[in-house]
Assembly symmetry: C2
Homo-oligomer: 419 residues x 2
Amino acid sequence: MAVSNIRYGAGVTKEVGMDLQNMGAKNVCLMTDKNLSHLPPVQVVMDSLVKNGITFELYDNVRVEPTDTSFMDAIEFAKRGAFDAYVAVGGGSTMDTCKAANLYASNPQSEFLDYVNAPIGKGKPVSVPLKPLIAVPTTSGTGSETTGVAIFDYEHLKVKTGIASRAIKPTLGLVDPLHTLHMPGQVVANSGFDVLCHALESYTALPYHMRSPCPSNPISRPAYQGSNPISDIWSVQALRIVAKYLKRAVRNPDDLEARSNMHLASAFAGIGFGNAGVHLCHGMSYPISGLVKTYKAKDYNVDHPLVPHGLSVVLTSPAVFTFTAKMFPERHLETAEILGADTRTAKIQDAGPVLADTLRKFLFDLNVDNGLAAIGYSKADIPALVKGTLPQERVTKLAPRPQSEEDLSALFEASMKLY
Amino acid sequence: MAVSNIRYGAGVTKEVGMDLQNMGAKNVCLMTDKNLSHLPPVQVVMDSLVKNGITFELYDNVRVEPTDTSFMDAIEFAKRGAFDAYVAVGGGSTMDTCKAANLYASNPQSEFLDYVNAPIGKGKPVSVPLKPLIAVPTTSGTGSETTGVAIFDYEHLKVKTGIASRAIKPTLGLVDPLHTLHMPGQVVANSGFDVLCHALESYTALPYHMRSPCPSNPISRPAYQGSNPISDIWSVQALRIVAKYLKRAVRNPDDLEARSNMHLASAFAGIGFGNAGVHLCHGMSYPISGLVKTYKAKDYNVDHPLVPHGLSVVLTSPAVFTFTAKMFPERHLETAEILGADTRTAKIQDAGPVLADTLRKFLFDLNVDNGLAAIGYSKADIPALVKGTLPQERVTKLAPRPQSEEDLSALFEASMKLY
Ligand SMILES: NC(=O)c1ccc[n+]([C@@H]2O[C@H](COP(=O)([O-])OP(=O)(O)OC[C@H]3O[C@@H](n4cnc5c(N)ncnc54)[C@H](O)[C@@H]3O)[C@@H](O)[C@H]2O)c1
Ligand SMILES: NC(=O)c1ccc[n+]([C@@H]2O[C@H](COP(=O)([O-])OP(=O)(O)OC[C@H]3O[C@@H](n4cnc5c(N)ncnc54)[C@H](O)[C@@H]3O)[C@@H](O)[C@H]2O)c1
Ligand SMILES: [Fe+2]
Ligand SMILES: [Fe+2]
């Protein structure tokens, strides 16, 4: 269980200039996306930098759902700037891009694939020191401000993959609920589904003492350790908040209490899954977003087809948890209860279906697209979706139940239609 | 909010040699107390150091409930040894001594009072880097493996005080439940009461947004921030474990489940209070243990009179929470419920008495001494006890309700007899 340093409160972002000064930063890289660059969160940060006399350059070319190409562009910018600190203001797309920029600018000799997760990349351990990075999340979803993970779409293979190393974990996360007030409803919903799946997957992940291999030297152990008594606390707490506040946060932009709580839940779930890991919803989501055809998400102000990450993970959740509940059914039933199911008369062998029904109802209430079919996939795509899931072994092997290719096919098929 | 770096599991202590090797340590200081130096926890650590070819020197002169004199002795040892890393194996007494040794050996020019909390010391911020310190707790109480706090008895004033700085927080805590199997019953009980009070005090501490002053520069803010949504999670979770497992852990040395859970609860409560703070039970405990006359605690294998820390905090808890429940009665009632009270028909204005009765019953069931009178104090001592509490402003000002000297007198008086 490792350190994540976060500061929570309405208005904490205003302190970012002082924090950078305390770190001795003189030449700062401020990263965001085009959409956010005109919105208050970025303005607040710039004002604080100016007020504290911090020189900075703005990079606002982050791609929503980044790719290797977009990462490379940010990396080149970072290399040229020779920055001594980074500030990322945005959702997971921005924070992840900034982590990659910091990593490769601190390692100018390295090849891009060096640090990308195996088997797609070489998964080398990071041994050089990075510059301080302050993450200011503006969505309530990825928890990327607390994790050592950066996700991108590897265009060549049309599949998402990432970089995972404790070295890229932000130095400090400023979790400021005021930023959530500008979030469009669909971004609240989709990023909230990401929190939901982080919590459910990390809580049901293979327990830490059953994970293998278990490298004898602590330094060789992965960040994703399997579920454990510490990550469980974060995951359960995040799930409770989702159950209580997500619908309110989606429906009412002025519900500061609900949006604040979801912002905190995102960080909690991040600490949970950042230590325990995620499994099948995430493993299967990477080809779902990588192979996107023409789907355009409402409220996402971008010029390319896009399945938002949170949507790509949640659409398979009823099928996935029906499948995984064969193992550790008590935990599955417990999460269904937290999400509002009446489990008093439920049988333990029905844990999977009970949780799946609870999730379906939850998604239906929030008008979520009716399964993979509704976002453009058909039966004919299943082999490609399965093929794109196989290299995601780093996460899929944390599922409590091993999966054959047939199992994966069946899970995609069962996710075509939800209601 | 900083989360601490801990590794939990039966047997994790065996990895300490590898951890030190990964840190590049070559010349290590191993600290413990005389009693523990012959017991398995220290043996396991030494075996691991030898196996990994780590040179070390053993210091086993830690005083149980340390003093400035005993701290100085350890500091001199550390200065002479020019160590590049520290391992502390023991309870709070050992971990705290080791933190102080590391701090002053890394700052050889400084005076002892420089870093001691004001108003007794100068409370200077720490600006030099310290050496890595691995803490291996063997009691289930202080949570010192997760905190930036080191407590000692300032003999000259006959009062406990301490050093508080994020800089002295251990690099890594190895929370290994196997060590708890050797703990005598009274040490389990008293250190468990410390967990109980850490959890209750941090959960009922003044909320973070009501604390004053609130320094505008984040670097000047104290580690003790008042209760907040993150520390609350740890405090409540620790309290639930105490409610479920403390009695079992005291009564049965072989109940590994209960003792393991209490070991984890100790770290959880440490993360909670290390960020939120403690208040009156702790503030008032410092003169209770500092002014000890002849009391000798059963099961504590030491040659000096001693009121164990956990006992010194818990004896005032019924009076303290009756007093503080005037503010935030809901939280007080909630903790009573977690501790087993039936609160369905309780009135909110009775929160204080309900919690106090619950605590009294809990202590009675565990045969705890009947109040301050039973450990040697009488009415005549109250002025001295109050006087010793006044300099503990750093913690007492975190109480949800301000206290006059008369209030403090009344609290000590109400704590003379419990049942
Ligand atoms: N690093 C991790 O641990 C981790 C975990 C999960 C997901 N991810 C990755 O994060 C990415 C998704 O990130 P996300 O869901 O946070 O969204 P995002 O960063 O992709 O942003 C989504 C959209 O919302 C807009 N937006 C963001 N905040 C806003 C605000 N406050 N007001 C108005 N508009 C706002 C953005 O401009 C963008 O158009 C994916 O690439 C995903 O794979 C990373
Ligand atoms: N730093 C912090 O955050 C913090 C918090 C609370 C208390 N404290 C301080 O910690 C000290 C108390 O520490 P403690 O309660 O952990 O006890 P301790 O370190 O004083 O040890 C108590 C006794 O138990 C023995 N012992 C410890 N572990 C044992 C084991 N596994 N088997 C057999 N015997 C064992 C010791 O040898 C000693 O005799 C006090 O000075 C207190 O003020 C510090
Ligand atoms: Fe995610
Ligand atoms: Fe304590």
